[in-house]
Symmetry: C2
Subunit: 76 residues, 2 copies
């Protein structure tokens, strides 16, 4: 829910400093979120956001964004 | 050139542990590559690959992958 403020309801980021997540591989997203949670990937926003999430919640978020359809050329 | 072995010629990753880069925001990709270069983002493959690249080369790579059109639903 907080995710969409930066990454968009459909995984297309609201501003170019944040990554689009739509159609990203779920397994890549899962690893990224796990790394934010354990601190091995550092981001001042993402690190604290992941702390309360368990594995199931992380996998659910990854699956959600992976399943969002791409929009063409939004990043250009 | 080495990039495409994992991330695909058009930015669609060859396997789900690697991120798709097609249509990702160029400014996000630039920051990611700079972080891999300076070691603030850790990845055993990406860190050494970035060492020889200067700012112009990093921006060129980011712009290339950002400009690749998305393919629909490749990640599902």
């Amino acid at each position: 829910v907080t995710c969409v403020a930066c990454h968009g309801q459909e995984g297309i980021a609201a501003a170019p400093q944040w990554p689009n997540l739509a159609g990203q591989h779920a397994s890549y997203l899962t690893v990224a979120l796990e790394q934010y949670k354990d601190g091995s990937r550092v981001d001042l926003v993402m690190n604290p956001l992941m702390l309360p999430l368990d594995d199931a919640a992380i996998e659910e978020l990854a699956a959600f964004f992976a399943s969002q359809p791409h929009l063409h050329n939004t990043a250009q």
